[in-house]
Each structure stands twice: as structure tokens, then as C-alpha cells.
């Protein structure tokens, strides 16, 4: 293990030496464009300590925001981008990213088979998985018992007993997909009639929703503001850390899953550093540091063995395996995105 790292470092040093002798005094910098709250600063510091490469992180809070900024000409500012599976094709089509050679990554074998070679990138030609997020139903045991509510199917979310008692992610795809699944439709539908047809289901859900919040949904759950949450599992995990009444329900219908991946910007000036960084993150002990701070779904087998009760005992972090296997991986819907947005706007008004 250590040997491999030293070899890699030596290799990197050699190439750096070959590429430009005069530049040595300038510290190399790697520009990473990442989700906000997804990678701890500690990891960047450790990377700099070990390799001397400084990491500068810029963050975004939705794939659309990231895509919009890259399309508007920001692509040249970054080397490494963390993107969700459903925007990969869009990025590829617009030449924003370049192929990645996974054979250069020592730790690629550490990554769970579950996340590799999925339909969005069958041969991992462009992407290396980082972590994954699944949308779950979190609930407050005490409050739900008082209300007499139990959620086994998505239709149970429409229970009038839950009036004004749900926090939901503020994302048109997530919410409309729930309605599509409840109605037995394809959650990646691009058919305008099918998508607008969810309005009857959504308008029954609307009165139950107390607030939409994608960024700090955990706080509404942790402070007993709501009984149920349609939230990202990381929010559920954070709420559970703060409030032991919170738990997770799995419905009969599959959950929504997105896999976040490292991709190389097509204009990257620091390819070697980017490879080094991806490999560094997938070193089990480093990956564990990321999970300790941000309890998303673990996609690294080595790190899984290092994890402790704090992770496995938390229903928001330790997602049931069947739920992961069955989960629906959100796919790009292209032009149909506006239908999703329109029906979501109608639901809100």
C-alpha cells in the first residue's frame, strides 16, 4: 500500500519535473468543483501535507447550477468536478469532460462493485464514483405514533393525518418522481401528458407539506418541527445524530438514488494531480474521514470495514442493502425537465 503511494508520488514528481523545470517554485494547485458540504477541509489539508499540492475547492448546490456555470464558460477554471450520474451525458455531449483512465488508479478496486459500470457509464470511461445519496422517508417515532401514521407505500404520504407535517426536498425531479412511482409510471418519463398527469397526486400531497428545504432539512426533523421527511439520507443521518426519535422507513416502491462521480474537466491543466487526488480519496482511511463528517452512502469496500457503530447504528447512514439494490437511479430527461418544473410549480400554487 505504502509502496504504491511512494511509487505514485515518484511518478508524479518525475512527470512534474519533465513538464517544466522552471515552475518548481510555484506550488501546484488543483481546482475542485464540488457539492457544498460533501468533503471535509481536513482531507484537502492532508492531501497538501502529503503531496505538496494545494487544493482549492469551489462549491455548488445543484447539478443544474453546476452545469449552468460550466456551460457559461466556467469549465476552464476547474480540473476535477464531482457530478451526479444524470448530468454525465450532458457534460459529455458538450465536451465539458474528458475520458478518465481508471487503470491509473491504485484504489479503483476499493470501490464497491455496486457503483461501478452502471448504465450511465458502463465502462467507467469518464467517471469514478465518489459517494452516493439516496432519498428516504425519515420519521419521528413519537410524533408518528401520536398521529397514528405509518408509511409503507408512497400513497401513505397522502394521509390527511399528516397535514402540514412533512419536510420535503425542494427539487422537482425528486418530488415528481415520487408521484410517478406511486402511480406506477416510469420515473424517467419524458411524456408531457404523463408528467402533468401527476398533478392530482401532487395536489393531495401539497397540503401535507410544511416546508420544502434541500439544504438544511435535517433541522426541521431534529427540532420536532415535522413528523415525516422526504429527505436525502445524509439529512436523515444528521437528524438522527441530534434526535434519537428519528428513524427511517422504506416504502414498497424503490427509493431515488444518485451516484456522485469524479470527472475530469476537458481543459484540466493538472491531470496528474487530479488522478493523485482521486486515488487519495479512495484510500480507505481517508474515505472514512469523509464519511465521518458527511454520512452519505459508502461506496468504498475498504472503508466499510473500518467504519464503526456510529455509522452502522445510524439508519440514515447505513442504508438497507436491498433498498440500494432496488433503488431507481435518476436519469437525465433532457428537454422534458421543463415539464417536471412546470408541474412542480403548479403543485406549489
Amino acid at each position: 500500500m505504502k509502496k504504491a503511494v511512494i511509487m505514485l508520488l515518484a511518478g508524479a514528481l518525475c512527470t512534474a519535473g519533465l513538464s517544466g523545470c522552471g515552475k518548481k517554485s510555484n506550488q501546484e494547485t488543483l481546482y475542485v468543483y464540488n457539492w457544498s458540504e460533501y468533503m471535509p477541509q481536513e482531507v484537502y489539508d492532508l492531501f497538501e501535507e502529503e503531496t505538496g499540492i494545494r487544493v482549492v475547492e469551489k462549491t455548488f448546490s445543484s447539478n443544474e447550477e453546476m452545469l449552468a456555470k460550466l456551460v457559461a464558460g466556467g469549465a476552464s477554471q476547474y480540473d476535477l468536478i464531482v457530478a451526479s450520474n444524470y448530468v454525465l451525458n450532458a457534460m459529455k455531449d458538450q465536451n465539458l469532460i474528458q475520458p478518465i483512465d481508471v487503470s491509473r488508479l491504485e484504489n479503483f478496486e476499493q470501490i464497491s462493485a455496486f457503483a461501478k459500470g452502471r448504465a450511465f457509464d458502463p465502462d467507467n470511461e469518464y467517471s469514478v464514483p465518489y459517494m452516493s445519496t439516496i432519498t428516504v422517508i425519515a420519521y419521528n417515532e413519537e410524533l408518528c405514533e401520536q398521529l397514528g401514521v405509518e408509511i409503507q407505500r408512497l400513497d401513505d404520504l397522502l394521509d390527511p393525518a399528516l397535514e402540514n407535517n412533512i419536510v420535503a426536498v425542494d427539487d422537482c425531479r425528486e418530488i415528481v418522481d415520487i408521484a410517478l412511482k406511486a402511480k406506477g409510471e416510469d420515473p424517467d418519463s419524458t411524456d408531457e401528458a404523463v408528467i402533468s398527469g401527476t398533478i392530482d397526486w401532487l395536489s393531495k400531497l401539497a397540503p401535507n407539506i410544511r416546508l420544502y428545504d434541500s439544504d438544511t432539512a435535517f433541522s426541521a426533523l431534529a427540532t420536532n418541527e415535522v413528523a415525516v421527511g422526504i429527505v436525502y439520507n445524509m439529512d436523515a443521518a444528521q437528524a438522527i445524530q441530534e434526535n434519537e426519535d428519528i428513524n427511517v422507513w422504506y416504502t414498497e416502491e424503490p427509493c431515488e438514488l444518485s451516484i456522485d462521480n469524479f470527472v475530469l474537466s476537458s481543459t484540466s491543466q493538472h491531470m496528474d494531480a487530479a488522478y493523485q487526488f482521486i486515488d487519495f480519496i479512495h484510500r480507505p482511511e481517508i474515505y472514512k474521514l469523509c464519511l465521518d463528517e458527511f454520512p452519505a452512502v459508502c461506496l468504498n469496500d475498504g472503508a466499510r470495514e473500518l467504519l464503526d457503530e456510529e455509522y452502522f447504528g445510524n439508519a440514515g447512514a447505513n442504508i438497507k442493502e436491498e433498498a440500494l439494490e432496488q433503488a431507481h437511479i435518476i436519469d437525465d430527461v433532457g428537454d422534458a425537465a421543463e415539464y417536471y418544473d412546470a408541474v412542480f410549480a403548479r403543485m406549489k400554487n
Binding site: G334, E338, Y340, D341
Partner: protein
């Protein structure tokens, strides 16, 4: 004569130079940061949308036609209605507020104005978070009311339309107070005295003398409240739980989730036109100098 002419020419040349030096930076600033982005937005509004965000050829009116959906009309009306209510409430509270400051003892005035400006030292979003902690069902206000025995169950204050209105009024009140304060300061007191001498009652003095004289301030205050309130999407997101969509959210979503830039740009243009119309209306009543 020739000497005099030379002198004059020299002076006018000098003033041209100083003119450029004085106005130049402003013109460059306006061109770069106002005109260019505005033209960019206007261009996008006439382009076709691209499946991945962005906009491209051919030139179409799709962006504007897309606005005709009944949904968007309703969102526009809803936003105008909320902004109208915000402005009205700000005026009702702001006028007496401004009056009190204007008539306070001289040594108190700077202090009172400072108190009015003080909240601006803290980011508005952080102040809104503060209100969320106070107003949530397990928050300080509900806990106190319950401890006092006034209510049995926590009140639903947060995540309602009322909370959004409250947040808007809270955020924008200083913008209403300041112009009204200026116009009350400028009030010609001899006219008030004259009215009183001629036997006008308090109500008459207010409606016939004071109100007309402070009208420019009221107008300026209303516009300074109404226009920003149309764009304050984060207050409805944070205090209303993002349950109702307003024009600000709608525009944001076109760029960040619906991937329909032309529609977003067209909506912005309409918003700018509404603003311009209001400004035009205002210049008929008052002068732009009162806008401070």
C-alpha cells in the same frame, strides 16, 4: 482679443478633460455592469432553449410565448399582490416611525437613525435565520407563550404566508422610513402654523398640508419597498418553507432547474419593464432627488 479667445479655449479644453475624468468611470461602469448584462439578457430572451441549459439559435419568441401559461400569470399576480401588501404595511408603520424620528430631540436623531440602519450591518439571510429560531414551533416565542399559559399547543407561525409577509416587512421597513424621514425633515413648518392659525383641525392639517408636502417621500418609499420585494425570493424560501412560488423563484428555477434560459430571461425583462413603468410614474409625482 486673440489672447482672450485662447484663454477661453484652453479653459474649455480643460473642463472637457475634467468632464471625462469625472463622468468617464461612471459611464464605463454603467456600460460594463449594466448595459452589457442587460443586452445579454435581452438577447437570451429571444433565443431558443438548449436541452442542457444555455441558449442558441434560431431566434424565436418562444421565451415570451411560454409566459402565457396561466400558471405563470398567476405567479406574477401573486407576487405583485404580496409586494403590494408589503408596501402598504411598511407605509402604515413607516410613516409614524419616520415622524417620530424627525420630531425627536436633536441630540437623539443620529442615534435613532443609527438604530434604523444597524440591522444592515448583519447579512439579511442571517437575520432571517434568527427569526426562524425564534418563531419555529419549538422556538422561543412559542415556548414563552406556552410557559405563560396563553396557549396550549404551539402556534403555527413559521412556514405560513403570514410569516413571509412579516419577513418582507421586516427586511424592507428601513427603505420606506428613510425617504419619508427626509421629506418630513424638509416640511415647511410655517405652512403648518398658518393652517393652524386659520383654524384647521389636526386632521385637516395632516391631510391638507402635511400629507401633500410629504407625498414625494411616500412615493419614493413605496417604490423603494415595492421593487426589491418583487425579487426577494429567499424570504419566501426560508420563512414560507418555499411553499408558494413567486416571480423571483420562478426566474431562478428557469435557469437552475427547468433549463429554460429564454423563458427566465423573458420573465426578467417583463419584471424590468414593470420597474421602469413604476419609475416613470414616480418621476411624474416627485423628483429622483427624493429617492434617498
Amino acid at each position: 482679443m486673440g489672447h482672450l479667445f485662447k484663454e477661453k479655449k484652453k479653459r474649455s479644453g480643460g473642463s472637457r478633460l475634467s468632464c471625462i475624468a469625472m463622468i468617464g468611470p461612471v459611464v464605463v461602469w454603467m456600460l460594463l455592469f449594466l448595459l452589457v448584462p442587460l443586452l445579454y439578457v435581452i438577447c437570451i430572451s429571444f433565443l431558443s432553449k438548449n436541452s442542457y441549459g444555455g441558449a442558441g439559435l434560431p431566434v424565436t419568441l418562444q421565451g415570451y410565448l411560454g409566459m402565457l401559461q396561466s400558471e405563470y400569470g398567476r405567479i406574477f399576480l401573486q407576487s405583485l399582490w404580496l409586494s403590494g401588501k408589503t408596501t402598504l404595511i411598511c407605509l402604515l408603520f413607516g410613516y409614524p416611525f419616520a415622524w417620530i424620528i424627525a420630531h425627536a430631540p436633536k441630540k437623539w436623531k443620529p442615534f435613532l437613525l443609527l438604530l434604523l440602519m444597524l440591522p444592515f450591518w448583519i447579512n439579511s439571510m442571517i437575520r432571517i435565520y434568527g427569526w426562524i429560531t425564534l418563531l419555529r414551533s419549538q422556538g422561543v416565542v412559542n415556548q414563552m407563550l406556552m410557559a405563560a399559559g396563553l396557549i396550549q399547543k404551539p402556534l403555527d407561525i413559521l412556514y405560513t404566508d403570514g410569516a413571509v409577509l412579516f419577513g418582507m416587512v421586516y427586511d424592507l421597513l428601513p427603505f420606506t422610513v428613510l425617504p419619508i424621514y427626509t421629506s418630513i425633515e424638509k416640511l415647511d413648518h410655517s405652512l403648518v402654523e398658518a393652517a393652524q392659525d386659520l383654524g384647521a383641525g389636526k386632521w385637516h392639517v395632516f391631510t391638507r398640508v402635511i400629507l401633500p408636502q410629504t407625498m414625494p417621500g411616500i412615493f419614493a418609499g413605496s417604490i423603494q419597498t415595492f421593487i426589491p420585494s418583487l425579487g426577494l425570493f429567499y424570504i419566501s424560501d426560508m420563512m414560507g418553507g418555499a411553499k408558494t412560488m413567486y416571480i423571483g423563484n420562478l426566474i431562478k428555477n428557469q435557469f437552475l432547474s427547468a433549463r429554460n434560459w429564454p423563458l427566465g430571461a423573458a420573465l426578467s425583462i417583463v419584471l424590468i419593464l414593470i420597474t421602469l413603468m413604476l419609475m416613470r410614474l414616480y418621476t411624474k409625482v416627485g423628483s429622483l432627488d427624493d429617492m434617498v
